[in-house]
Symmetry: C2
Subunit: 246 residues, 2 copies
């Protein structure tokens, strides 16, 4: 929509065809919105993407997202054109509504265990965010913390003995943690010590990454580490270059 | 278990019968553990409760709960005696595994919408916690914020036109927000201004509370506002009187 340009304050609401197709309100560099893109891609669900300038939000955003956040997924086929927010809620909704390509395990226990891992990944997310925004000075032990958080996932992949957390193909856990894993590649460009994950300590995760990068759903929304770093460096200067990929 | 006494550092792991029954690790005044009690009660699922002293945790707690948190639900019937953590993950697991008494709506959209409301209730939780722990001085606009947060739920009950959020009986949304609603009754005892919810502004929620208090699942774990306040006042002095109900 709008050529992928991020709509800002003052932008008219985009005129979209009355085609009943999902409308995903997103921001190109938002890792939470990234989750919604991955699930929609993995399930081959047609959708329009409406990119939002989160610094100068269009006035009509709160019609779809009461707190003005992305992702917000509007469902034009449902009565009243409701919209869903929160990346994990959107992901699970799509998994229940479109079970043809199941992403969560069917077994309730395995599903709950994968959700716990997604929850535990939040500790990696919060440290990564500090480093992305402030460099290693912002969190002196950050790289140690990130590695300790990722140890859990390395060990999990090892004990599952499968190439993906989801088995022979990516499942919900793979897609829910991927946005930050993809962004971890920018640490090399953001930190003076050119940080990369230890190849021995994280051998399974690195093999997993090499597979994930070639997954069609991931490819459909992929940005390399250098580009993520470029966006983040500008953001650190409070210059949100939302449209830098256009 | 152990007469309801909270087990502390140094306590041996409780000897439980090998009966395949769920083991809920809880703390009597923890609102998140309260959620798990409500779901187990509502579904009439037999379980042992192991109360944990969260200030001086028993050494074996991390076997069931890697971060040492409650609730942690151990599943002795499953291979490897796995345990689940995180109140919402436990609640949804139980709802999927024991569908005889369904708590979430069956329709994926309605379910997602209820989850969004549970998520939005977090803003009420965070302000309530500030007031519980520090009084109205700790958050000057707290009472206004709590009321603004509850407006969403008053409006929702009104638009649903049913006595409970779940319809004619309590559903998952009712049970997931109840622990804090129950605790809001302590504001009257904690604050000098004897705070109570405005009877006109929150007429639906107050009628809902009167029904909820008589729900068997709620009754099974209910504590009145004065008692909650007594626990909280001691906690403010760093005296965790976990066993005060015994």
């Amino acid at each position: 929509m709008n050529g992928g340009r991020h709509l800002a304050k003052g932008s008219p609401k985009p005129a979209l065809p009355d085609d009943g197709v999902f409308r995903l309100h997103s921001m190109r560099f938002c890792p939470y919105a990234h989750r919604a893109h991955l699930v929609l891609n993995a399930k081959n669900i047609p959708h329009h993407t409406i990119y939002i300038n989160l610094k100068e939000k269009p006035e009509w955003l709160t019609e779809f997202s009461p707190l003005g956040k992305v992702p917000a997924l509007q469902l034009p086929k449902e009565e009243g054109y409701p919209a869903l927010i929160e990346s994990l809620i959107i992901a699970e909704y799509l998994d229940e509504k479109y079970p043809e390509v199941p992403l969560f395990p069917i077994d309730p226990l395995k599903k709950a265990q994968d959700k716990i891992l997604i929850e535990r990944f939040n500790s990696v997310i919060s440290v990564m965010n500090k480093v992305f925004l402030g460099g290693s000075d912002a969190a002196p032990d950050a790289l140690t913390e990130i590695s300790k958080g990722l140890d859990i996932f390395e060990k999990e992949l090892s004990s599952r003995g499968t190439p993906y957390f989801g088995g022979d193909k990516p499942g919900m856990l793979d897609y829910m943690i991927w946005p930050w894993y993809e962004r971890s590649a920018m640490l090399k460009y953001l930190l003076p010590e050119k940080y990369e994950l230890d190849k021995e300590r994280f051998s399974k995760l690195i093999a997993w990454r090499d597979l994930m990068i070639n997954d069609p759903a991931v490819k459909g929304h992929y940005v390399d580490g250098e580009t993520h770093a470029k966006y983040m460096k500008a953001r650190r200067e409070n210059a949100h270059d939302y449209d830098m990929l256009l």
